[in-house]
């Protein structure tokens, strides 16, 4: 998928938010859209996702001490606008980012023993076949989809993996791929996230921060989060970045997010938001400072991200990507922001400045560790984009008879977006009722994602080397 031709625009200095200082004084609360479309119905496959009362709710929205000014229009910027900062950032990250840092730490990437190049890793892992997700699901010639494992249960909400690719947090199911063993996250409900330096991971609720040694020492079958992991103020929908050069950790958590738990039932479009992403939408930024003997959450600040949600911080903490909507609330694509987050003492100054805008449809994205790419999934089969989606999938349009099954059973595919060019490429070619979801990178460039299939109770965790084809 190629986005609209780029236009040079005045992207710089569109500061979406500042710190607690210098903001205006409207403290109005965003309207809450309580409707949710992703709750599995009773006839859907049983899901071990959080129960209703555990589902993220609006009252967990991070509080802000930042005065908010209503903005009466969507953020400025034009589709396809990619500022020069993006290329500069990617160039810097090629030698300084977490992919390079982890290489310099000789990180042992899962499945790479004996491999000379990252793309040679996981050679022992079987390729997808008709026995699982289908033999022809790769949309890129020469790319491989390898089945890391098949989970006997379904998961809820997103899936994330450790930087070394050894551990997969599929909802509350954490899998040690090296031992082919499940580790029960006792007390976890949802939202696994891993630090890009492979030092630890977090789960909700209570923003539990756990050292990676809880998984790598011995052969644990369970990790009691309450005793093995420290509680923190990290809010829901958390994403983690680690400052380069051993300074501080930053985490974002968004009160404005989409409840994306699709694929348990037919899901034809991007899932709806937990609340309106309006003029006062905000993203919470938490500083976990390196105190010398550990990391301590010293404070949070709210970034105003009007008409945006699903904010994801980059591994280096220097970029922030969001999804944005128009004034009517329709998804429009992604905004890439340069994140300026500093502190003087414990006072945090933060701002997000738009540097690129990609008008493509997709769910919450995930950065590559070199920060050149993001990967995301995209639901198709219905809604206003059905015709464009059908064509992108190779049909003549939404009325193509061969597309009919997609319009009832839905589909989700994986995409990779090159942030420097705006070129997006589809990785998978899933069938009707097949949902490739929650893609994310590991440090060396492999992409992991899960596949849910309507009518089955299992999920496959897939590894893709498609990212190497785009370099």
């Amino acid at each position: 998928m190629r986005i609209a031709p780029a236009h040079r625009i005045g992207i710089a200095s569109v500061t979406l938010l500042a710190s607690l200082v210098g903001c205006s004084d409207d403290t109005s609360t965003p309207a809450v859209d309580a409707s949710v479309d992703a709750t599995p119905t009773t006839d859907a496959p049983k899901v071990d996702a959080p129960s209703t009362d555990a589902t993220p709710t609006a009252d967990t929205t991070p509080t802000t001490d930042t005065p908010v000014t209503p903005v009466d229009r969507p953020p400025v910027g034009e589709c396809g606008g990619i500022g020069p900062e993006v290329a500069a950032h990617v160039t810097a990250m090629s030698t300084m980012g977490w992919a390079a840092q982890n290489r310099s730490r000789s990180m042992m990437m899962h499945g790479c023993a004996g491999a000379t190049r990252p793309q040679d890793c996981l050679a022992m892992v079987p390729e997808a076949s008709d026995a699982d997700i289908g033999a022809n699901r790769s949309a890129i010639t020469g790319a491989h989809l390898r089945v890391l494992y098949t989970g006997a249960t379904r998961s809820g909400f997103w899936t994330r993996s450790s930087a070394d690719g050894r551990f997969v947090g599929r909802g509350i199911h954490l899998r040690d791929l090296a031992r082919a063993a499940d580790v029960t996250m006792t007390g976890a409900m949802y939202d696994p996230a891993f630090f890009p330096d492979n030092s630890g991971y977090t789960y909700q609720p209570m923003g539990r921060m756990c050292p990676m040694s809880t998984l790598t020492t011995g052969e644990p079958t369970a990790v009691p989060l309450a005793s093995a992991c420290a509680g923190s103020s990290l809010g829901l929908y958390q994403h983690l970045g680690t400052s380069l050069d051993g300074a501080d950790y930053w985490a974002t958590s968004a009160g404005n997010a989409a409840w994306d738990d699709g694929g348990h039932m037919a899901t034809l479009t991007e899932t709806r938001r937990n609340e309106a992403w309006g003029a006062t939408a905000q993203t919470s930024l938490t500083l976990m400072a390196n105190t010398g003997s550990g990391f301590t959450a010293v404070g949070s600040r709210s970034l105003r991200t009007p008409f945006q949600g699903d904010a994801v911080i980059s591994p280096s903490s220097r970029m922030l990507i969001t999804r944005f909507v128009d004034a009517a609330g329709a998804y429009q694509g992604y905004v890439l922001n340069r994140l300026e987050a500093t502190h003087t003492g414990s006072a945090i100054m933060a701002s997000a400045t738009e540097v690129a805008r990609y008008c493509i449809q997709g769910a919450k994205p995930a950065f590559s560790y070199d920060e050149r790419f993001v990967t995301y999934h995209h639901y198709a089969g219905g809604g206003p984009d059905a015709d464009a989606d059908a064509r992108e999938l190779g049909f003549t349009g939404e009325d193509d008879p061969a597309f009919a099954e997609y319009t009832t059973r839905g589909v989700s595919n994986i995409y990779i977006l090159d942030l420097t060019t705006g070129v997006s490429r589809r990785v998978t070619n899933m069938g009707p009722g097949q949902y490739a979801l929650y893609p994310h990178y590991r440090s060396d460039g492999w992409i992991y994602f899960i596949v849910r299939t309507l009518g089955t109770g299992r999920e496959q965790v897939i590894a893709s080397d498609a990212g190497f084809m785009m370099r």
Binding site: S104, S106, M108, T217, D245, G246, A247, T291, S346
Partner: protein, 566 residues
Amino acid sequence: MIAPRVRSAFILTALASACGEAPAPPDGAACEGIESQVAPASAEGRWLLGLASRYPADTALPARADELRRSQRARRAAAWEAVARTLAPVPLAHPSGLSGATVPRFQTWYNRDDIARTFQRLYEGLGPTGRAARARFTDSALDEAFGWNVGFATTLPEWPAARLDAYAASLNSAASVAGVAGVLRVAASPDAVRHLVQSYPEVLRCIASGAPPTFVDGPAASQQLAREPVSLAHCGARTLGPFFVATGGTLTARLADAAEGTELRVLDGVTTEAGTRCTASAATGCTVAGPGSFLVKLTARGQGARGMLDVQYTPPTAAVAGCLQRVFPVAAATVALEWRRTDLDMPLPTYDTSAAGLSRRLAPGADATWGTGDGTAEPDARAAYTMRLPAGSSFRLAAMHIRTREVANWLNITLWWSPTPDDDFGADRPASVRALGGPWSSYKMCVATEYTELDPDPAGGFTRDAPTLAAALRAVYEGHGGPSWCSNPYIDAGPGLVRSNCVGCHQHAMSGVRPLDVQTDPVRYPANARLQVRNNSPSDGFWGLDGGDHVASVFAETVQYWLSAP
């Protein structure tokens, strides 16, 4: 006086009258010094530091071990010299932006990332057959791997020579040079790390099969005799031990010439709940058969007792460090560092370690916790060792543990920053440390080498020339044979840890017992966990294997990684 054949001194002794049960520490205590590093030296940092500088151990110290047990003055003098050897300046391996730049020796020592890279290199080099057999590494392989680790950055495409040179040139201040090693939390000398990686088969075996139990039996060694003068007041009591006895061996205890009414008991076990195995008049004595760990308790039922206690026992010949190839070599040394951020509005707390300050914290009813401090300070780089990371974050060294394997239970040294550095625990700072210059004269020091204090002088021999130190030592003295003392206000921050001695906690390293358990279970770990309760220390007291840096998991991860190799 201990007879010549005595192998181990009387270890656990406590006068009930002088050493009442300390208040149970509240939950949340932590063993000292085992948290993880948070920003270790990078590959480029290692390139600049070069090979870690060996710890120049005093090879005469092992022969002086008994002197150090019995003289606080000799012990402290030896410890200060070990401090000087640990802090001695070492030049960088490459020119930097600061002419003649040096770092203190400990900053060249290896951290978890160094160990990981080196072990991965070594283990891969074994090849499939060697890996399957868990073969030992050859000396030449070890030399090659440590050298390769130093040059690892030069193998990375993102670190061409020009970038490395620019990196070195950017370090143009003492603080930035000090930051080369990162926010190092735990580091080990080259001899220590070499021993650790060479012990990987034993470490893996302990991970898979569990650590040795508290008491490890074995063939009986030759009989040992321990003699200890005892003086009990009316209704006084004293407990001595533990004594470890092998299967087939015996323990015989007797207080010669004891007054009538003096009772001797042999307790079966080392906890406060140990049951009585034998009760007799002290003059008659008791004999019990092994195997087991025993305490000997004397109680003066009558008007008091005085005499020489003889304990003959037959210990097992058991591996002292079952999770290592053998105990660490004499040049092994480790540090645990307590850095504090300087740019987060976090002033450095200060602590009163004078006799008055210690007495207040150790008074009956006090919680024996260092707490948040008695004041605050903002020492500059001249007064506290300070480093700055490339990202700009700045840290000062608040405290550090230094452990050297120059004696059996290590020299357990700890340093802490003080605004009154020449008082109490800094009053005997020798010229060798003062000559280091800079901030190093701002740190006070205490040291322990045994579970118990065997110096009969509460003032440690400092009454005349260092009265503030003498007074402080008196404040923490719990009697001849009572638990020894050494506690760091910044590191031993857990509840109750003003009563600490390092030695007691470190015996549990790699045993499966967690530091939190050690500090919060006064039954199994009496006297604030300061006393010996094991006849073996699985990792020879090195917490870095299973606590803090989790080096054991580095070995396990690497082995697991290669299991997937085609």
